[in-house]
Structure formats: C-alpha cells, structure tokens
Amino acid sequence: MKDISKSINKVDNEEKISGSAKYTADIKIEGMLFAMTLRSSIRKGEIKNISYPDLPKGYYIIDYKDVQGKNVVKVIFDDMPIFTEKKISYLYEPIALVIGPDKQKIVEIIDMIEIEYKEEEPLLAWTDSVLDYHFDKGIGLKAFDEADKVITYDYQTGYQEQAYIETQGFIGYPEGEKTTLIGSIQCPYYVKNALIQALGEREENVRVIQSTVGGAFGGKEEFPSLMGCQLAVAVKKIKKPIQLIYEREEDMLVTTKRHPAKINFEAAIKDNKIYGLKAKVGIDAGATIGLSGVVLSRALLACTGAYTIDNLDISGNVYRTNTVPNGAFRGFGAPQMMFAIEMFVEHIAQDLNINPLEFRNSIVAKQNDLTSTSGIYRDPILMPEMIEKAIEVSNYLEKKKTYSNPNIYKGIGMSYFFHGCGFTGSGEKDTIKARVKLRKTKDNKAEILIAAVDMGQGVKTTFRKLVANILEIGIEDVIFNNPDTDFVPDSGPTVASRTMMIVGGLVARATREIKKRWHEKEFIVEKEYEQPEYIKYDEKTFKGDAYPAYSWGVNVVEVEVDKTTYQVKIVKTWSVYDGGKAIDERIVFGQADGGLAQGIGYGYLEVMNHKDGRIQQKNMTDYIIPTALDMCDMETYLYDNPYAYGPYGAKGVGELTLVGGAPAVAKAIENAINKRVYKIPVTPEYIMELIDNGKN
C-alpha cells in the first residue's frame, strides 16, 4: 500500500482559487433582509430607558423581549445574554438587532434610537477572580523548604486577534416550522444546541449548515453561537430570510480574542536543578467567563512545558473585567504558558551560570515520566533526536555563540513544546461523546457524515483521502459535503487538534467495517467515541491523564535586529514536529508554515491593547499581522511517531505549530540584543526599553 502521507491536491483548491466557492456573503436569498446590531456606548452600567422610533413598514427591532427560550448563550459557562436586558458589562455589548431591506435605512434607525444609561466606573484591573484553580504534584510547595535558592520572574502576554479573512456571519431563513441558519462556523452543533435553548424549540425544528469558511483559528468556535441565537430569534419572529454579517471593524471590536495573561513563576533550586516549581497564572476573561476556565486549564496543564518537573504547586485565576469577552484561539491557553515557561527555564539557567541548552536537555520529558497532573507520558517521546535535528539543520550552536557578540545584532532562539491532543481531561468521553456515520451508497461510493468543518486546514481533503485509502477506491468516490445538522451526527466541534485524531480515528473504524461489508448494496455504519481504558482523569483535583496523546515540536528562529530602529527581521526558521503521522504531508506543511507565522507574529508583531476598555486596533491597518514579506524561508521536518488510536497513527497538528513560535522568536531577540525578554509581543518599542534599561 502506498504511504498515506504522500500529498495530493487539496480538493477545494480549484473552487477557492477560481473564486467559485460560496462563502456566507455570497449566498443571496429572494427577499432577504439585513440585520445590524445596536450596541452599548458605555462600558459598565445599566440601561435606564430605551426608546425606539416608529419603524417604517418592513423594518423590525428584535431584543431580549423576543427571546422565547432562555436569554443565555449556551457555551461552557452560561453567563452571556443573547441580548442584554439592562446590565451593560462591556463596550459595544449587543442590545438589539435592527432589521430591514435597506442598510442605509437601518443605519438611520439605529441613529434615532435613544438610550439612557446609568453609567458606572468600569473594572479594568484584574481583581474580580471568578474562577480559582489549584493543583500540585509530588511534594508540592514543600519542595521549597529544601531549596538552595529560589528564582522568581514574571511574564506577560497580550491579546491576539484571530484575523480570519472572512468576518463572522450567518444567513437565517425559515423552512416551515424549522429555523435554519447557514454560516461561517467551526462547530455546527455548538450553534444548534445554543439555538435550541434560545428558541425553546425541539431539536428537529433547528437546522445549522456550514458554508465555506474563510478562516477561523478558534474565533468561530463559541462566538458564532451568540450571533446565531440573535439571528434565529429574529428569523423565527419575522419569518423571512435575514443576513447578519459583521464589517471588519465591528468584528475586531466585539468578537473574542486570545486571553491576555500574567504568569508568576518561582523555582526551588536544589543542586543546580529545578526541584520544585510554583506558578500563579492569571488570565483576563473580559466581561463574561465563557470558555475562560477551559483556556486556563490548558494553560495550567502546560505549566512545565516540554520538561518534567517533579514537584509542582500550580494555581490560576480567571479575572472578569469590563472589556470585550475573550475566547477560543488556536493553542487555547498553551501559547501563553509555553512562552512563559520557555523563557523561565532559559532565565534560570542563565542565573545559575549553566549552559541553557544542556540545562534544558537534561530535563526534557521522557516516555513514562509523570505529566504535570501525575498522568503518564505513555508513548515514545522523540524530543532528543528532534532537538538534535533542529540544531544540526539550523547550525544553532555556532550561530548562538557568534551572535552573543553584542555588536552583531543577530540572534537565534530555540523553543521546545508539546500540545495535548483532543479535549482536556475526560471531555471527549463525558461531554462531547463524538458520533460519526459513514454511508455506503448503491453506486459504490462512501459518504462521510460528520460535523467537522473545513476552515482551510484541509479536513475535506484529508478525510476523503483517509477513507479512500482504507477502501482502496479513488478519492472521487468518497463524498464529504459541508456539515448540515439535518444529515450529520454530532462528531463534536472542530477544535482542540482533535479532528483527525479523534473524529478521523472513528471514521477509520467505520471505514474498516464498511470495507468488510462492501458487497452489500447500501447501508450506514455509525461509531461512537470510546476512551482508551487506561485514560483516567479527575477534573476536580487535576489528577491523571489530561490528554490521550501529545504532539511535540522544536522551533528555531533566526532574527536580525536593526540597531537604529529596533525593528526585527525574521531571517529563517527551522521546525521539527512529531504529529504522529501526516495524513497528507503538504497539508501538514501548510499548518506548519501558517501556525508558526501566527505564533511568531504573536511573539514580536501583533499588538492589540485596550485603552479604558476600548480596543485600540480596530482594523487590519492598525492590527499588524505578518505579510509574506515579513516571513521567510521556513524549513520543516516531520517525524513519524504513530499513536495507536489515531488513524494511521495521526495525532494533532493544528495548534502544535503555533505554540512554539513566540518563545523561539523572543529568545532569538534576547540573543541579538543580549537582554532578557519578559513579555510579548517583543515590539521595537519594548526592544528600545530593554536596550536602554534591560537586564543582561
């Protein structure tokens, strides 16, 4: 049999390159109305009175009074109203939809609406802790009693905006009793379940269809449920097709972003080794908790990075502030922690006058080591050979030494990292319970029925290839349409680097069964997720195997810093990844280049901040993401390390490729300027401060 990793053309190349692919905004329905959102103009307070103007015929205002079900968006933590009733907790909080046939008129109506507020002072400091987690490992804090010395540093990370090309949007329409939404989403069933609760409807009366998605990066995980609920409420009441699509500025001002984080580490040093680690982690949830607890968990679980540390005392808090709610973003808490721990281990080595590379290599996690939650790394870990490869191809050792000369202003940095694949803890088993279906058709084709979304990452190609390969039929004989909840079962959301490993694993199992019965005329095979028995996790105590499998990686980034302007130029990158097994090599290389560009951008370029609760960079002119010119030649090497339950051994690769970018570029900049970096993004402004006043 041929190697499945050998690349084929992506199945959607032609429609995307030719422009024939239908995105949400391309869908036009006869008689379709437009919706725009009325938003708060204050950051905190209450609506005392709101007066709507008399509406011309054919125009509507939909607000909380029209919500027939529960006025709460169903996410993990149900604290976000669909439309606010009174309470305002962040700037531009949605109050109502104004709907009608002419956008100009809608804008005029919005301008005529008068709202009287009782304004309060917004809370912007991180003082309102709404979630508080703690766990330890080994002897925990007692390790500090035996310490020769304690080393402590603080690290900080900023916002990051997903910056998908296609902004958030839906079109909703009635189909008899049914309310149907088609939109740019990652998780059709998240939206469907939110709609059921919002409309107070029976399951069969709600339908969600995915249109072609122009990028998501986590931004279309939970946020679309809010928009979807608003629109569904309107469609059900008005009984007409309605389009709700955000403009870029609106999207950037109101949609979820990566949580800013502050991380304090203390290391108990004994015999020049890290004997114990204490971490205090804070993340800014914004105005609602939403997914923040799960994001914090993933950050905490990653607290030792790619290393094994025996004694841990780890705590974390989610803080609520009167700012735009933060949410899912590729990496989901791990990028913040991976930056902090990678810098901390480097800084400890420097403080101890030990060669950082040797220091790091001596504590890299090995098979059968205990994870941060005292689970076990059961599968082989190839990090030593991956590190060796990265050093060799990048000429790391020689460059690192040469560049330590303070007059050269060049630098090289290397990060080690991992990413836990699939949902954290027992989420797959207890919450998601993924189901997939595969249909054998009369004319000897196979149809994949899953809720996984192709948002550019190549799911449509890799899944068809997977099934075709097992069945030994052509890829054209495998059907995979965009998910429609009327036809596909809930295989879970397209998140958490779970799609190929978990959903693909189930599809592979179903395919093998189909293969055995291929002579039968037409039938459907259904499979449900079964957790490997050895995986045990206690969410309350953070004990056990937090993930069924781990992907691993090494990034090397080389930079030049301009000594006049402090601008950073990315010269070249080298990456080595263990994602189990690539189902399509070129697609994994695509993830690798895009993920690393996004991770490096997070580390040195992408500045987003709020001023008194107002996002300052509200368009792509001011929010700077790397262009092709800012990136460089990117060399990537893939190592096979098959995971028993993944199809052909595949683990997760979607997020892995992002999490190591920031520490690698930050370390490269440290090497170039001979100063310590404690926060990202490492902007020219920060580099200037460091050169003037930073610590060597």
Partner: protein
C-alpha cells in the same frame, strides 16, 4: 445624497470648482477609506464630490533642464516606471504602496490628504517640491512646505486644484529614504526619514534632512541645515551632537495605536545619527 461629478477635462473641473464646493477625489485610496460605509452601501461621502481621475491632461511626467514635472493625475505606478523619476522617489513609492494602491494613487492626492505619516511627503519636502495650483482665472506656484499647514490641513481655496508637482533637479552625493513601519510592507509608518548630501572636495555643499510622523507636519529646517553647509566632513562629524541637539526640540511626536512618543523621538534622533555616520563612512 451627495452629488458627484466626473470631470473629463481640466477646464470642466476648474469651472465646476468655481461654481460649487466639492471635495476632490483623485485615486481615492485615502478618501474611500475615510468615507467607507457598510458592504453593499454607497461610499459614505459627507459632501459633494468631484472625481478628477479621468482628466488625461494631468497625467504625465516630463522634464526640462531645471525641473521634473508630474501631472496631478499621474499614478504612482507611472512615476515608478518612468526613467525621469529620481531614484529616491522610486524608493519611497515602492515602500509606501502595494501594487494595487500604486495603480490608482497619485502624489497630488497624497499631498491633498496631508497626513503627517504620508511617506511621499518626506521625500518631496527634501527635494524642495513646488506645486502648481490652478483656478479658472489664476495659476500660482507654492512650495509644498507652505502648502501643508497642519494635520490634514492645506492652503487650497475652494475653487482651486493642484495641477502639477514641480521637483527641482538635484545633484546629491547620496540621498536616501527610510520608512520605519510596523512591518515590512503594506503598513502606515510609525515615522520616516529622508536625508541627502552633496560633498565636493571634502566640503559639505548641501545637506538636507526631513522627518515624517514626528510632528503635525513633515519636519524640514533649512535654518539648521544651513549651519552645517560649507563646513568640512570632519567638522560635521565633530559637530554631530550639536546637529542632533538642534533637531531635538522640533521632534514632538504623539502616542497612538501604532507606537509611542518615546520610541518615535529616540528613533528619529537615531536616524539622524545614522545619516551622519553614513556621511562619515562615505
């Protein structure tokens, strides 16, 4: 609803401007963004508009012994491709605009927009650019530095149109432009710098410095420059600190969503320092 007029000839445009108050749109690359509205809605212009982009008479680049003349309607791409264009102007066009922008934007439009971060302005100030301004009954010539009076403020009467850029030919030993943007392409400058010098027999015959985005208009001081013209290269190097000190009080940048004042100020001074070092090395 605003009224919009598409002028086909210079005369038609000048007559229209004489009779009615219009906002002028050339390439539209700034105007369309400043007046953008929702997808599918008309451009949100707030006043009546005259489009001049079809006036062919204003689309040219030519020269005589003293000057280069660029018509107000000449696209950046045309300027970039012309053999007449000074290299420094080509450098700035390549750095300031993506291909799509280059095919529609004009220098006159950049001047009319009068953004303190306008990259081309830095070089045009350095080159002592003049403008020809026409109204139906009058033609006048004004120095660019006198034409731009503040942030997005220009000395143009309602009935007038910029018709031509007049760029005196220069003979520098070296001249260069540096854009300090947040990334390498497609971005608005945090600040920018242009410098040029002429050395004959080890003597500074000309010295020019222009800085963008560190004050409400481009900074260019002929007074300071003159103090350092006529001395030797060694004397200039000796007096480097004095020169930097002279510029220091002129540089008054702001904090905004793109950068902060400390950075802009320090880097502006660094760029002057770097410029002097280049003269020293040459």
């Amino acid at each position: 609803m605003v009224k919009s007029l598409i002028a086909k000839s210079l005369n038609q445009a000048l007559e229209a401007l004489d009779n009615h108050s219009y906002q002028i749109v050339a390439g539209g690359t700034d105007m369309l963004i400043q007046n953008r509205s929702h997808t599918g809605m008309p451009i949100g212009y707030k006043q009546d508009i005259i489009y001049i982009n079809l006036i062919d008479e204003l689309n040219y680049i030519k020269e005589d012994k003293e000057n280069i003349y660029i018509g107000a309607n000449t696209r950046l791409e045309t300027i970039l491709e012309s053999d007449i264009t000074p290299k420094i102007l080509k450098d700035v066009i390549l750095e300031m605009a993506s291909p799509a922008i280059r095919h529609t934007a004009t220098l006159a439009g950049n001047i009319g927009n009068a953004s303190p971060a306008g990259d081309s302005l830095v070089v045009l100030y350095l080159l002592d650019c003049k403008l020809e301004i026409k109204s139906i009954n009058n033609t006048r010539t004004v120095f660019l530095k006198d034409f731009i009076t503040g942030v997005r403020k220009i000395a143009l009467n309602n009935n007038e149109l910029i018709t031509k850029l007049i760029i005196p030919k220069t003979n520098f030993t070296n001249i260069y432009f540096r854009k300090v943007g947040p990334r390498l392409s497609d971005a608005i400058s945090k600040l920018s710098f242009a410098g040029g010098y002429l050395i004959e027999n080890n003597q500074i015959k000309d010295l020019r410095i222009a800085l963008g985005a560190v004050y409400i208009t481009i900074i260019r001081s002929r007074e300071i420059e003159k103090e350092f013209i006529g001395i030797t290269v060694d004397e200039l190097v000796e007096n480097k600190e004095k020169l930097i000190k002279a510029y220091e009080p002129l540089i008054k940048p702001i904090d905004d969503q793109r950068s902060n004042r400390n950075y802009r100020k320090k880097v502006a001074l660094n760029l002057i320092k770097e410029f002097i070092s280049k003269i020293e090395e040459a």
